[in-house]
């Protein structure tokens, strides 16, 4: 039986961590860390968990401590944000290639510059090639639910990859919302104990982690890691299925919202999806055939499934809340467009970069996007493919 409560995304994730009671939480105790370790420090002080809580001197060190702890056979976690995630960069690749199922909570925020602490996906998208599984939440409930599923996905035998649980900085991390929590016992039963086959502290089995791999081995090691990421797709769906059976809330790679007969659609991530759904509802009420896909799992990217969901749509706008500086569109657009490239009939597709550094995204914005898509669908002319939305602009705006 779920427990109704109200809390921020940070507290929701910290609550999930408390219920799971991991062996080690290594954290950098100053900004740009999140409130998550602050909540967790209280649980430690109040004796609600028996986690080894290690305060280190940087995020590079917090991920390094997690790597050591996880290799030793512990369930190790941490949390960070923005520049803190960037500072972890090197060690994220180490964690993933050593195949250590660490779970990292990220409150996604902009990167400098100019200096800005608000939400976009600059930080997490910069780590999209680190080898971490990345799961994004629309709201507090999803952040909590995704976290409850993370350890099982990470620890699946043919996956063994670290997971990044992403929530939108401030919008989700700090806003209080209603939430349905599960009981401590039910969470513990769902997540289970961590019993790795091999680990450094296993006396009877000497083990070395993270060896040198000359060019005669590196390629094979990377292929094995790439296969593990493919295997993660199956694990994500299997854990989601058991989660639905246990707690009643349904998850997949992405959420399709009013897509059945949609002729125009937007592909979007995170909290903005809530705003965009309101616009979809209003436009549907006017008889417009519009829909929305909210991508939940960005790594592994569900390319085939997304292409299948978009194949009958006439015009698609992919919304990127990070600027990849590719001069060719953002990362979600690159993935979505390449996923659709081999479809027999594929939609016209544009990229809209929006919401950078906490810039507002509104129902009115969404309606402008759909009006633009309608024009593309009617004329068959895609027009400019890589567009920015929401900035003050001396030029005439495309939308």
């Amino acid at each position: 039986m779920s427990i109704r409560d109200r809390m921020s995304g940070n507290e929701a994730i910290a609550t999930a961590m408390r219920q799971i009671n991991p062996d080690v939480f290594a954290m950098f105790p100053i900004t740009p860390s999140t409130e998550i370790p602050q909540y967790f420090a209280k649980y430690v002080a109040d004796g609600k968990v028996d986690t080894e809580f290690i305060c280190v001197e940087s995020e590079h060190s917090s991920m390094s401590a997690c790597i050591g702890a996880e290799a030793a056979g512990c369930r190790a976690i941490t949390a960070t944000s923005s520049a803190g995630l960037s500072y972890m960069n090197e060690t994220l690749f180490v964690a993933a290639s050593a195949r250590l199922p660490i779970v990292l909570a990220v409150a996604c925020r902009a990167l400098t510059g100019p200096i800005n602490i608000n939400h976009d996906y600059s930080d997490s998208m910069a780590e999209r090639d680190s080898g971490f599984i990345q799961i994004y939440a629309e709201n507090n409930q999803e952040a909590y639910d995704n976290y409850l599923q993370a350890h099982r996905i990470a620890e699946t035998a043919d996956v063994r990859l670290p997971v990044m649980i992403c929530e939108d900085g401030f919008i989700t991390s700090h806003a209080l919302e209603n939430i349905e929590l599960e009981s401590d016992e039910d969470v513990k039963a769902f997540v289970g104990e961590y019993n790795p086959e091999n680990y450094l502290l296993k006396e009877e089995n000497p083990l070395a982690v993270g060896p040198y791999g000359v060019s005669g081995y590196y390629m094979e090691a990377r292929v094995a890691q790439a296969e593990a990421m493919k295997n993660a797709k199956k694990a994500i769906l299997a854990v989601a299925e058991d989660f639905e059976k246990t707690f009643g809330r349904k998850y997949g790679f992405f959420e399709e919202y009013k897509m059945e007969d949609a002729e125009e659609a937007i592909v979007i991530m995170g909290s903005s999806a809530g705003t965009a759904k309101a616009a979809v509802d209003e436009l549907r009420a006017e008889g417009k055939k519009v829909g929305l896909i909210k991508v939940r799992v960005f790594r592994p990217f569900p390319g085939e499934e997304l292409a299948e969901a978009l194949k009958n749509v006439k015009a698609v706008a992919v919304l990127d809340k990070s600027e990849g500086f590719s001069a060719n569109g953002g990362p979600l657009f690159a993935e979505t467009a390449s996923a659709c490239i081999n479809l027999e009939t594929r939609p016209k597709m544009i990229d809209i970069v929006y919401g950078l550094g906490g810039r507002d995204f509104t129902v009115a914005h969404t309606k402008r996007i759909f009006a633009h898509l309608e024009k593309i669908a009617e004329t068959g002319e895609t027009g400019p493919v890589y567009i920015h939305l929401g900035q003050r602009d001396a030029r005439e705006e495309v939308l």
Partner: protein
């Protein structure tokens, strides 16, 4: 089934690598010959050597074998050619030569 490092070679397919390239036995560095990195080579002169045992602990790669208090010739399969032994030897018993 996890393979031992000794069973994994540069002919192994990726499916035969261990997860994360973990190594499940001790002393596996002996299996990997890394001496080819050298650009210069230390050459031991047994006549001049007094077996003072200064070179051995200075070698960063355990490439100077010692038996019963006496050193023998270099382990060239693992010597990286750093030259520390040549620098440290008080008796001029180690020459420092170009690799040809």
């Amino acid at each position: 089934m996890n393979k031992k490092a000794i069973e994994i070679t540069e002919q192994s397919v990726w499916q035969d690598l261990t997860c994360g390239c973990e190594i499940y036995e001790a002393g596996s560095s002996r299996l990997t010959l890394t001496g080819e990195w050298r650009s210069k080579i230390p050459v031991w002169d047994a006549e001049k050597c007094r077996h003072c045992m200064l070179c051995t602990p200075f070698c960063p790669d355990s490439s100077i074998p010692v038996t019963d208090g006496k050193r023998s010739d270099f382990d060239y399969d693992h010597c990286k050619g750093c030259g520390i032994c040549f620098t440290i030897c008080p008796f001029g018993a180690i020459e420092w030569k170009e690799v040809h």
